[in-house]
Every structure is written in structure tokens, then in C-alpha cells.
Amino acid sequence: MLKISFWLKRIAQLLIVLLLVTFGVSLLLRLIPVDLATVLLPVGTENERDILRAELGFDKGPIGYYLQWLGNFVQGDFGKIYFSGGTEDVSAHLADAMPRSLLLMAYTQVIAIAIAVPLGVVSAYRAGRRADKIISNTLFTLSSVPNFAIALLLVIFVGVKFAWLPTLGYVPLSDGVWEHLKHMIMPVISLSLGLIATYTRLLRADMIAALREDYVTMAASKGLSDQRILWRHVLRPSSLTLLTSAALSMGGLIGGAIVIESLFATYGVGFEVFAAIAGRQYVALQSTVAVIALFYVFFNLVVDIASGFVDPRTRDRRVNA
């Protein structure tokens, strides 16, 4: 029961965060010193604009406008994108872009963690020795190369020169798993290198601290091998920072991978954000940012739950929270 009340509290906290973020964005929108209706309908008549103003709540104050937007948003009406020829639903755009971004994010995280964990374990175990120095220096060098530069190199060599992989476009899973993956490999590599460096560094530091703990000496005095001590005794209590950092980067990977999405023409949510800004589609921007915030909050919740499994002490602290 105590735990349920903890989770209710946590969810309430996150909802408040969501409301504050979306209200903030909404307020910023109203502060832009332009007439929003004119921006959205540059060629329409004043009468048409008046109708739009009423429909979107531009005629109301900031709070009235926000409440109207929020009412629509929770009912799944994310607003429209306005063209000279007509309109398109933001929700349709997101329904197309979201799976692309979620899959790109998921692959990137899985690859980054799968590589960073063994590297972190080895470099903590060999801290200060050659293997550690090689890993640290290599990752530091790689992480100082911006991801678009890596992407360009991949395109030039893997895509064009050797023509091993397609350089452009997105193929949904339903059109064949291999085709789908082939299009994802280069974007995933470009996005994951920086994360691998970050994750390895965090895990290494936490593991080096944990290796000094008495329970490690205790484990050694039981006659366990170094391998077993590292993987079974040290890794788990050292992985909370890594987990938290992974949660934080998920939001960024969903909404912030604009450059990589454009370069490889995978056009996910990041590209939608970019398109909304470039096309001054402020309502679309507001709803898209809200959806990104929603995912961000959701992943934080997932990591909260996961840390309870990784470190049971955090579970019981919740009872007193």
C-alpha cells in the first residue's frame, strides 16, 4: 500500500512537470510578437482568419488558449499543419514519425549499452593500465567528433565508396526486417558513438568506487574469480548512474536527432520539430513538443521502476518517501 502511494505521488509529480512544460511552451508561443493567424493563413481572408482565431483560441488570454489546446490534446486532437492548399493533421504526421524515432532511439540505446557495459567493466578492472588507457583515449577521441561528421564519413565510405548500405530513407519493419535494419545501421552508429563514450565513463567511475568497497574484498575472500566478482557483485550496484543517464538521453534521441534524421532521410520526430519551426507551424510545434515531453516523462518512470530492480535499497527508500 505504501508503495502504491509512492507511485501515485511520483506520477502526480510527473504530470505536474508535463503541465508546466506544456504551459511554458504555450506561453512562449503567445509571446511571439506576430499575429499567429496571419502566420498560419498568409493568403486567407480576414474572415477566414477570424474563424481560425476562434477555433484555436487565439482570441482568448494565455490561460484560456492553453486550456483549449490542452482539452484538444488529451482528446488526441494535436492540431493542424496549414498549407496554401489546405491542412494536414499533426497526429497523422506524428503517427508516421514516432515509430521511426522510437526504433532509432531503441536501437541506439541497446547498441550503446551493449558496448559500453563491457568496456566500462574492463576499464574499471584495469583502471590506469593499458587496456583502460586505450579504451578511454579511443572513446574520448570518438566522442569529440560531432555525430554528423561521423555520419558523413559513413555515408562517404560505407554508403558510396563501398556501397554496402543504403544511404537514404526509412523502410518500415513491415516491409522486411533486413531492409529495415540496413537503413538503420548508419544512423544508429552515428548516434551511439557519443553515448558509448558517456556511458562507459559513468560506469567506469562508479565501478572503480564500488571496487574499493568492503563487499568486494569479502567476495574475494570467498574465493570467487575476478570475473564473477565484477559481473555479479560490482556491476549491478554501479549501474544506477548509467541507467539515469540513459533515461535522460532518450528524450534527446526522440526529439533532438534532427541532423542525423535529415542526413539519412529517416525523418522522425526531430525532423517534425525542425519542419514545424522552419514552416512557422506553431500549433504543430506546441503539440509535438508536448508529445516529446510525454515520452520523456514516461521513460523516466520506466527507469524509476528499473532502478528498483537493480538496487533494492531504492525500493524501500520509497516507502519512507
Partner: protein
């Protein structure tokens, strides 16, 4: 009598930013089979480092160990890490000062006890858990089934220490290092744990190295006592002999510093005035000289050699107690 553990000229140096730190130097200790040997000294005198060095548990590239350690016919100091590891559990085991930090915080008690049984004795998971429960009963933990499923933070300090003892004795070791097993516990629990160790030692025919900063703990629980000061053994004698005929001024100061339970609080002397010498720069004379009430000129300029009475009583002092000046 043959020695189960024989430590000769053991030295441990740590490379630190402030220079080389000599935590243990020139230590000779014999643990005859079937006996309990106390190692006593103030905090920082090198007791923990000595025990861990004996077992080969000091990790890190900044550690240097010198001297020889022979356990049960095996010269540990000439063996590989893997070979020494094979002696852990059924040969040597250790319990640690703080049962909170020495148990893995994220793993259940059951898996922490049964792990050694599985890895060292090759038991199946099921058998190891059954045995773990028996071990918890052996260390007198009520409700062992529930404790097997608990995490360390869910147990009291005394219970955790019992769990740690269960882990250490799981594979029936010949020698148990108990590094301040009661220091982190309150007085009544301390007595229970010492009682438990005494009984286990008899039932399992274990030898023991009992480390403590409290001469009072040593009194009823050991056959021999080694007193350590600033990384060296400064007095060594059978326990009864030590209390009856103390030679070393430092040991006397330790004895005087034992808190007297019947004293009103506030009147107890709990520490020896002054501090241990700087471990990175030990100076030339006797390390205890600035704090010693018997100190004379010579003490400040010459390091005392280990002296031996005809009865084997060892001490490291120019002007031992009970000697006509």
C-alpha cells in the same frame, strides 16, 4: 607445535601521493593449529592491512607486499592469485569489521551465502540453499527462511554480523580471520557474537586470528596475543602471560585505556594521549616515544629491536616494564 599459519618478516607498502606509506613492517606471527591469536592495537596500527596481506586480499597497483606467508604447508607468497584463491573458503576465511559495508547491498542473503558453497564446493543451487539455511541456524538466526530472502539493509547490525559469520564458516575453514568482528555492534550484541565465535571455533575445530582494538575482547577469547603499534608487532605472549606480566609500555597504556564499565561515564579513559606516528615518515626512534611515560633519551634516537625473554615473551622496548633500570 606445528604452525597453521606462519608469517615471516611481512611488510606492506602503499604508494600514496604523500610518499611511501609503510603500513606493516617486519611482522612475524605464528598461529599454531587449533589456537586463537589476538591482534590488538589502536585504530590505524596496521591490523587490517596485516590480515589482508596475509590472505593476499590487498588489491591495487599501489600495494607492495614483502616477506613470506605459509599457510598449512603452502607458501602463499610464492603462489599465483588463482592458487591462493583455491585455499579460500575451506582453508582461510575472513569476517569484516562493518557488516553493513561487507555484505553486497543489492544481493539477497541466500545468494551471498550459497555462492561460496556453489563455487568452492561445487554444490547445486538447491543443495547450497538448504545448506545456507542450516548455516543460518548454526549462527542462531531466528527465522532463517525469511532471512535467506532478505537484503542486508533489512537486517539489524547483529543479524548482519551473524550472516557474515555464516558466510565465512560456510566451507568449514581451518583458519578464520575475524577483523574487529564486534566493533560496530553494541555491547550486549558484542558479547553474543564473541560467545558464538568461541562455540563455533570449538565445534568446527577452527583456528582464529581475532583482531580488535580492545584488550578486553582479547582476554577470554585468545590463547596468544600480538600487540601491534605503527605497523609493527611490539609485544607477543600467551594471553595469560601477557596480562600477568606485561613488558611493553604501549600495551600497558592500551590496558589503561579500556573503558571501565563500572565507572561513571565521563570518567573513563578511552584513548591514549597523543597520536600514532606519521605512517609515511616514521622517524628514527621508538614510534611510541612521544607518548610513552617511560621514554628516555635512547628511545628517541634508536629503534628498539625485538627482545625475547627466556620464556618466549617478545617485546620491542629499550626499557621494558618490570626490569631494574
Amino acid at each position: 607445535m606445528s604452525s597453521l599459519l606462519s608469517i615471516k618478516n611481512l611488510g606492506v607498502n602503499f604508494d600514496t601521493p604523500r610518499g611511501s606509506l609503510e603500513a606493516v613492517r617486519g611482522v612475524d606471527i605464528e598461529i599454531p593449529a587449533g589456537t586463537s591469536v589476538g591482534v590488538v592495537g589502536e585504530s590505524g596500527s596496521g591490523k587490517t592491512v596485516m590480515c589482508r596481506a596475509a590472505m593476499g586480499l590487498l588489491q591495487g597497483s599501489n600495494v607492495q607486499r614483502t616477506g613470506t606467508v605459509v599457510f598449512d604447508g603452502n607458501e602463499l607468497t610464492a603462489m599465483t592469485k588463482e592458487q591462493v584463491r583455491d585455499l579460500f573458503g575451506s582453508g582461510m576465511a575472513m569476517i569484516f569489521q562493518d557488516p553493513m559495508t561487507a555484505l553486497n547491498p543489492v544481493r539477497r542473503i541466500g545468494s551471498q551465502i550459497s555462492e561460496g558453497l556453489r563455487v568452492r564446493l561445487g554444490m547445486s543451487k538447491k543443495d547450497a540453499l538448504v545448506r545456507s539455511k542450516e548455516l543460518l541456524e548454526l549462527v542462531r538466526i531466528p527465522n532463517p527462511t525469511a532471512v535467506l530472502k532478505s537484503f542486508p539493509y533489512q537486517l539489524s547490525g547483529g543479524m548482519r554480523q551473524r550472516v557474515m559469520i555464516a558466510i565465512a564458516i560456510a566451507c568449514n575453514p581451518k583458519l578464520l580471520f575475524a577483523d574487529e568482528p564486534t566493533t560496530a555492534l553494541d555491547v550486549t550484541v558484542q558479547a553474543q557474537i564473541l560467545q558464538l565465535l568461541r562455540e563455533l571455533r570449538e565445534d568446527l575445530k577452527m583456528s582464529m586470528v581475532l583482531v580488535t582494538h580492545d584488550l578486553g575482547v582479547v582476554a577470554g577469547n585468545t590463547d596468544y596475543v600480538a600487540v601491534m603499534y605503527a605497523g609493527e608487532v611490539v609485544e607477543y605472549a600467551p594471553t595469560t602471560k601477557l596480562f600477568a606480566d606485561m613488558r611493553m609500555p604501549y600495551t600497558e597504556a592500551l590496558l589503561e585505556s579500556i573503558p571501565k564499565i563500572d565507572h561513571k561515564s565521563g570518567t573513563r579513559l578511552s584513548v591514549i594521549a597523543g597520536r600514532l606516528p606519521n605512517p609515511t615518515d616514521r622517524g628514527v626512534g621508538c614510534g611510541f616515544a612521544p607518548r610513552c611515560k617511560y621514554a628516555q633519551e635512547k628511545c628517541h634516537t634508536q629503534h628498539p629491536e625485538l627482545q625475547k625473554d627466556p620464556d618466549g615473551h617478545l617485546y620491542r622496548c629499550w626499557f621494558p616494564i618490570g626490569e631494574a633500570l
